[in-house]
Subunit: 279 residues, 2 copies
């Protein structure tokens, strides 16, 4: 059914419609990766407890906290991609709304040509030629709107997309680097059968690692340079002779900041896992 | 069927078996995200060409190159997680092989208790007590092996995992930051209907961005501190009285470096997309 819906798109918006659909699958894949990572985090902590080895139990529990937060970041990434996907839809909607205007101009042009051949003295020719002037004027506006929207929204979309990539990457680096510190608290010098291991003494150190991680995540701020835009967010207009239907623009339905700086639910929700573990 | 197989695992290795199965789903999700990203990259380039706008066409084509490389990095990440998953299997296999030794010790202990109650003068008691000493010795070795393998392989596994997270993140940051430079080459100042845009003049600049990206990816080196391990990679042995079956250890089947430094097909394959685009 959804394939059929894709095919129903006007020619002009078909390629972008397909891309938007692909993006939906990519987003689902990241969501699924985030969910699985959370499940693995829980399984790791449970397994560690079952080993009845204090060091393994404590470190695997705290690694679990880190993994859960990585999963959360993967999910936030998916949500941010959803925003970028929403911006691409503006271009697609504009493309879809420009198609009838192109079609109309073509239709009138064809009619005039046909009539000139069949009945060159027809009075309808004058009417059609007036109609063509109107259709051309309308199409001129439509094409300018399409060009403006395409350029502005393409910049905005990939501003969001790349900022989301960087946010996920920087936060997951914080998590992974601190997780590596935890690994050093596992003494893996071999024991001889019958020997008991030295008591595990790194519980406070490991706790400190979680606190450091939380602090670093809280302190994280986007470091991306804003992408300047010269767009004026109002619809492209022209003198008095062209009335353009506005309802297709869908400008109000999604409001986006044009700069990457405001992207993402930056700190509070993201450090939830770590906070809960420390609390 | 695969659920059933999970249930067939000895009690001791059941939790880790489940985690390893979850990890398989997570890996598939990242593979799928990588595949979708590559498809989106191709669709973006195609769409850009169809707009017949020189700036949009050139930039969307080069953004496509960046996205394809991000997808490639997602796929390399999935491959690296596969390595980490392989290391976890060592622990699971060791757990599975230790279970019979625990069971055997328990079985002999139970038999002795039963016999002492039913027939306290039985000569079989002496035989069973000798058997118990052997079973305990064997189990002592098995438990030491389990402890050594668990600690060493847990460190090794998450060394690989976290190094993979950092590699993907650092390389995708390189890609995203350069991709943002490309966006600035799109002039989105609004055009008035009927006006033509200034000619696109950033083709060489955009090309340079791809070359810079390629250079940065080539120059990338892992920055993680190695995780020191005190393990001796040989199986844990004890005097003469305990012979331990080695075939279950599966030590040879996967060989892993203990340090994260060697992780991943770092540069050559990863910058393939960008190289091809520049070539």
């Amino acid at each position: 059914m959804s394939t059929f819906r894709g095919l129903q798109q006007p020619e002009l918006s078909r390629k972008l419609s397909r891309l938007i659909k692909n993006e939906n699958s990519a987003i689902s894949a990241h969501e699924s990766a985030g969910r699985e990572r959370a499940a693995i985090a829980a399984a790791l902590s449970e397994w560690g407890e079952s080993t009845e080895d204090d060091a393994v139990s404590d470190i695997s529990d705290k690694l679990g906290v880190m993994l859960a937060e990585m999963g959360e970041q993967e999910d936030i990434f998916a949500q941010n991609l959803e925003d970028y996907r929403g911006v691409l839809k503006h271009i697609r909607n504009m493309e879809a709304s420009v198609q009838p205007s192109r079609d109309q101009r073509q239709k009138v042009t064809d009619e005039i040509a046909k009539l000139k051949y069949k009945d060159p003295t027809s009075t309808r020719l004058t009417t059609l030629e007036h109609e063509l002037v109107r259709a051309e004027a309308q199409n001129l506006v439509a094409e300018a709107q399409l060009s403006n929207t395409t350029r502005t929204k393409l910049k905005e979309a990939f501003d969001l997309h790349t900022a989301a990539v960087i946010e996920r990457a920087e936060k997951q680096i914080i998590l992974a680097r601190h997780a590596r510190r935890l690994l050093n608290f596992i003494d893996d010098s071999p024991v001889v059968p019958g020997d008991t291991r030295k008591a595990y003494e790194h519980e406070m150190d490991a706790r400190q690692v979680l606190e450091d991680t939380e602090a670093d995540l809280r302190a994280w701020e986007p470091s991306v340079e804003p992408i300047p835009s010269s767009s004026v967010e109002a619809p492209t207009r022209v003198n008095h002779h062209a009335q353009v239907a506005e309802e297709e623009h869908d400008e109000e339905s999604v409001t986006h900041a044009t700069s990457g700086v405001t992207v993402g639910n930056a700190v509070p929700s993201s450090s939830k896992q770590v906070e809960e573990a420390v609390a």
